[in-house]
């Protein structure tokens, strides 16, 4: 094992997959010389050259469209969109084109496109650079949505995403880029669609994504001192959703809290809550609670009030325990 940062783990995954497969190329704004806005593609230009490391104009639709067309002809593009927020300027390419091309054209195309984009607040980046929009994309059939929370997961999942023959929206978290963690020296892969039980517990299940995984783990540690054992499930993949792992845990605990950084309203927390209610209502001893951001844009300098944290998770867990 070795220690690395989340951002370095991404760079390693890209470099390894580019070395492994001649058809993999990266494309995006500043991905070449500057090595990406956050440094995820640092060193790739030197190693793989301009043919496979493509710096582009600030043209998100052109970037994604190019990736789609290239993938349809057998290449494996990894496009970097600088912020999740900027995915909104190429929504047609993602939603109407990429997600539907295989289905609409009778299954003749494989579209091994990965779009990497960082989400999340915590950097005072303001309303247009801090959103979590994963539920928008999880709502679209034809896309896979991956959202890793640790250096280990980000590397293994990115490698798998690049090898996947379907379009994958790979949502990183910029507040986690500097996070350190252990990863193996040797190659490893993590399957898409498999959640990870990050902490076992018998009393309450907390399903979390991205940065909230760490908030949930912090909450679990503190609640353990009070004798409440929380099971923390890191979804890792939003779509396809790992129902099995969630259901198995809820069967054990009979209590569920779902937490994500995105606004609580209309989010994946609602989807998971509904799913559990539809299919295993008899197992539940309390209402399913959601912990998410309030229904306001991400405020520049009021983030402390905005971002959900471990304290909010603790409150929700206690509430279901007391029900």
């Amino acid at each position: 094992m070795k220690e690395t940062r989340y951002i370095k783990a991404i760079a390693e995954a890209l470099s390894e997959e580019m070395a492994r497969d001649e058809n993999v190329f990266v494309i995006g704004e500043d991905v070449g010389g500057p090595g990406g806005a956050f440094g995820a593609t640092k060193g790739l230009l030197e190693t793989f050259g301009e043919r496979r490391v493509k710096d582009t104009p600030i043209s998100e639709s052109a970037i994604v469209g190019l990736a789609i067309g290239a993938a349809a002809q057998g290449l494996r593009p990894v496009a970097e969109i600088m912020f999740v927020d900027f995915l909104t300027v190429c929504m047609d390419q993602i939603v109407n084109q990429m997600a539907k091309m295989r289905y609409m054209f009778g299954g003749v195309y494989k579209l091994p496109v990965v779009i990497r984009a960082p989400c999340g607040g915590g950097l005072n980046a303001g309303p247009q650079h801090s959103q979590c929009l994963e539920s928008w994309f999880a709502h679209v059939p034809g896309l896979k949505v991956v959202m890793p929370a640790t250096p280990y997961d980000v590397k293994g999942l990115l490698k798998t995403s690049i090898r996947d023959d379907n379009p994958v929206l790979f949502i990183e978290n910029k507040a986690l880029y500097a996070m350190k963690g252990e990863i193996p020296e040797e190659e490893y892969l993590i399957p898409i669609g498999k959640a990870d039980v990050k902490r076992e517990g018998k009393d309450v299940t907390v399903v979390a994504t991205s940065r909230m995984v760490h908030q949930a783990l912090e909450a679990a540690k503190s609640l353990s001192n009070e004798g409440i054992e929380v099971e923390v499930i890191d979804l890792r993949t939003i779509s396809p959703l790992d129902k099995e792992t969630i259901f198995k845990s809820v069967e054990k605990t009979s209590k569920l809290v779902v937490t994500h950084e995105a606004v609580k309203a209309f989010g994946i927390g609602a989807e998971i809550a509904a799913m559990v209610c539809e299919e295993m209502i008899d197992c539940l001893d309390a209402p399913v609670l959601r912990v998410g951001a309030p229904f306001v844009p991400v405020p520049f300098n009021l983030e402390n009030f905005y971002l959900p944290n471990s304290g909010d998770v603790i409150k929700a867990v206690k509430k279901v325990m007391e029900y």
């Binding site: 104009p57 052109a62 990736a67 290239a70 002809q73 054209f105 009778g106």
Partner: protein
């Protein structure tokens, strides 16, 4: 100069497109085709003039008004018709309909229902050709309405910057759905925008198949040689409405009549008669051949089943 054999093939394809679309209007009116259709009657010279320069492994992107280009690129009429009928034996198993027909083996990457939506994707096929060192080109067809989408700007800039082997073919029929060109843009010739992207731009009489062919050939040669993309504007005329059944209250009967005066098939036929390449008997022969091809395609489509519920879940993911 285009040889006789090629000229006759072009004439056959133009007549075929016209007859197929006339037939589609007819069966659509009879309620046999679900959804919408958009015909390109009057614009046949653009599809044929450009596609007659292409090889099977070259790629085309088409639009909601894409029947003509698909036929000109060599789509099989039976499976084409089955798709328009929404049947299982259609190219897309009945999931695309008229607006999204694709035929991978003939390089018809797919037609797009989003105005300007295909333009960025054409960067990708042309990029792949360049990346793999293949000599094939991509033709991206779109209408005049698409040039005011942001994707047009983003894509032409990038294609020019990277010298991608792509030709942007603007089929300018003067109408963006229900709105005439002078109402939505100040420029008269869309091709003048090419200069802003540092690429070649040319406007051609899109009702003259030989002129379209000549300019398309030059643009395609430039693309194949790595000399970059071209914005090829073909000015043509839309004889019918935006969609089949459109009453066209936004157009004066006089303007419609004038548009129909520009008949690319009539013009080409006159040339072929004058050059003694064809005779009235020859025309009768190909009309009969096309008639039987269409009848066969319709019979094939009508006998093809609609996909079952199991088909609903296929091909969302690999």
């Amino acid at each position: 100069m285009v040889n006789k054999e090629k000229l006759l093939e072009m004439f056959y394809l133009m007549v075929k497109i016209r007859r197929v679309e006339e037939c589609l209007l007819d069966i659509f009116a009879q309620g046999k085709i679900p959804g919408f259709i958009h015909v390109s009657i009057g614009q046949e010279a653009v599809a044929v003039g450009v596609c007659s320069c292409l090889e099977q492994n070259d790629y085309i992107f088409t639009t909601h008004r894409g029947h003509g280009q698909a036929i000109a690129k060599g789509i099989d009429l039976k499976r084409f018709m089955a798709e328009i009928y929404g049947r299982k034996d259609g190219y897309c198993k009945g999931k695309s309909g008229s607006m999204h027909i694709a035929c991978k083996e003939m390089g018809i990457v797919g037609s797009n229902g989003i105005v300007g939506g295909g333009i960025p994707i054409s960067l990708g096929t042309s990029f792949a050709s360049m990346f793999k060192g293949e000599g094939n080109v991509t033709i991206c067809f779109f209408g005049d309405g698409a040039v005011n989408e942001g994707t047009f700007h983003e894509s032409l800039n990038l294609a020019s910057l990277w010298n991608l082997p792509v030709v942007f073919c603007c089929e300018n029929n003067g109408w963006a759905q229900f709105t005439p060109q002078k109402v939505y843009m100040k420029l008269e010739n869309i091709s003048t925008r090419a200069e802003a992207y540092g690429m070649a731009g040319v406007t051609v009489d899109g009702d003259d198949v030989l002129k379209v062919h000549e300019e398309a050939e030059k643009a395609i040669m430039r693309a194949r040689k790595g000399q970059g993309p071209t914005l090829l504007e073909c000015k043509t005329h839309r004889w019918f409405g935006h969609f089949a059944g459109d009453a066209q209250k936004y157009r004066s009967p006089k303007e419609i009549q004038e548009a129909r005066g520009f008949d690319p098939i009539g013009k080409f036929q006159k040339f072929l008669f004058k050059s003694k390449y064809i005779s009235p008997e020859y025309v009768n022969t190909i009309e009969a051949k096309i008639k039987s091809e269409i009848e066969e395609a319709i019979a094939f489509a009508e006998n093809s089943p609609i996909g079952g519920i199991e088909e609903l879940f296929n091909d969302v993911y690999v």
